[in-house]
Assembly symmetry: C2
Homo-oligomer: 404 residues x 2
Amino acid sequence: MIKNTAPFMRQAVMDLEESRIREVANAGMGRPDVLAFWFGESDEVTPDIVRQAAIDSMQEGETFYSHNLGLPELRQAVSDYMSALHGQTKVIGVDRLAITSGGVNALMLAAQALIDAGDEVVAVTPVWPNLTAQALVMGAQLKCVPLRPVSGQWQLDMAALKSAITSATRMLIVNSPNNPTGWTLSRAEQAEILAHCRSTGTWVLADEVYERLYYETDTANGCAPSFLDVAQPDDRLVVVHSFSKSFLMTGWRLGWLVMPAAMTPHMGKLIEFNTSCASVFTQRAGLIALQNTADITPRVVAHLKTCRDTLLPLLQAVPGVQVAPAKGGMYAFFKLEGHPDSVVTAKRLVAEAGLGLAPGEAFALEAAGWLRWCFASKDVSRLTEGVERLKSWLAKNESGADPH
Amino acid sequence: MIKNTAPFMRQAVMDLEESRIREVANAGMGRPDVLAFWFGESDEVTPDIVRQAAIDSMQEGETFYSHNLGLPELRQAVSDYMSALHGQTKVIGVDRLAITSGGVNALMLAAQALIDAGDEVVAVTPVWPNLTAQALVMGAQLKCVPLRPVSGQWQLDMAALKSAITSATRMLIVNSPNNPTGWTLSRAEQAEILAHCRSTGTWVLADEVYERLYYETDTANGCAPSFLDVAQPDDRLVVVHSFSKSFLMTGWRLGWLVMPAAMTPHMGKLIEFNTSCASVFTQRAGLIALQNTADITPRVVAHLKTCRDTLLPLLQAVPGVQVAPAKGGMYAFFKLEGHPDSVVTAKRLVAEAGLGLAPGEAFALEAAGWLRWCFASKDVSRLTEGVERLKSWLAKNESGADPH
């Protein structure tokens, strides 16, 4: 006698797209013959020294609840690390930092802190779908400003972005270096966006988890331009970071937030209500990772650059492929001519070629026809083998068009 | 030139109360002379065998992303475990289960899945404040139905609850065995509440994390009555569980959700957008914990019963104290006559007696004058020493009244 008057769940949640990446990956997961490049993670295990720190912590019995905002010593280490990168004029103090259960968790916390149902949120797309989905979970009205591809290189239309952000805009979501396109904001563009958002009272939520994975040489600190470099401490700016990419710690679920100091106590409450804290042993691992960043991160980035520089020319030589080098991140994002539906293409590549890529539709409708290739591969020959598989598959489908 | 037209953060988030428990704990944390009973956790380290499972997983290199809904083998183990307890008529299948980053994370996910801004939510109070705060983060209109204390025993006014839940009520939040009061629903009451919620189309969010910590002998399975025992698989019911209490795993942040099967894929999306997954090594620990529940949990519960049965008579013998035995959970919740402001009292007890308790106001306004004592203490003599400190402090304050 259940009265089904109320809807099953929130419509906003039921409407959320299931990941188109998982949709493709599910078609090939567990198949050892598939070369999988669909997820955004390296296939290299977390460094020994980092794992050992967590093991030591467990053996010492650190299995209890901890501080909402993170271990004081880890927050201090993050403060030191961030200040070395971005504290040219002023240190980034612990009072501006919270440790989170991953970068994605940090982004969700920011959405909870800032988005009331009905608020307008602007996002620069294509983008990692979680960023826009979180805003929708919080009930936002989402307005997307698409990047535009020019010869395989995605570019921002600054005028379009500025006209999209008005005093009615609560938050701008921007991810640079960008997943999936590799597009990266310049410092001048960041300053221009920030100035505009100041004039409209709009928060900037900057996902900068790929900042260390930067292959240009135009910045003094070697990492990608950051909103932190152009902002004041009390600007309406939240920057999200993660241990996942720069320290090979995807599975650990550890990240952090940089925010105005006045926001931090409120963030502590939200962390209490979301996950309460990150595990202490996980935080100990993060602490050791930061203390050894000079050994870990440059090696990771140098290897990723080798991966990029191996994959890119091979892909560029494939007829029908349009792709430009990513300035940052760990993805080659390329257009495959004659294959306008990338979900279909990606599923066929799994089934027919043993090649696992992510479809562009996962990141934006305007990216249909594009495919994302995560080039974070410990063994570079997997990349060359992948290109061979792509070429063979294309040769077998010389008509070029999807049969669908 | 920041235009401060927009509010700083969401008003709903700024209005959230900071934990009154942390407020008291902050006054005494790190002071070795304070006997701390303020938090809801045992002071016993996670069992060796459980920690070793996580260590093995790390050493084997399980440091990558994993399934949103949890490792298939862990979901199967939870299914077996839950079915043994509550599957009298039907197993609780893996299609109804999601692994979460702690019980609190499971509760927040349920709130995200079900609460649109403006929805009416009814909560039975006093209750762990995170439960009501999560609803407020999602923009709910909160209506509280207070339990009533009779000789120190908190009781439900079923008529008041049923008249509070109407067809306008989206969700009922109920935590039984209850933190902080120890109040526990009977199976008959659960059936009556469920029938009423079916008639109004209201979801029941049942926090049953203390179900194994039950000291009565009136159920066949030895654990507290559960809504799962009276519900159908497709009822609007979400039950939240945690590894924290029954397996001494508070700091691990691992829990699970039981829900209607049709909800599970949507929950997978929400997990992706909140934390993506629990760490694999943490899930391996949970798996070993479940496989060894026969060794771990009865020992934990028997010790907690000893703790309760040690503390209760001592507290009952203190003049001015009103307290009844908790049917379940790990708290003695008692009224201290002549001390109407428990935040003041708790802070004074920390400063003047070296005794750390949680103030009733943390759980509901109607619990002002009450104090929560977590009796999960490995060393039972800490409890007797704590009562001595309380008695000495009371003797020194014979007037009985707060000086404030």
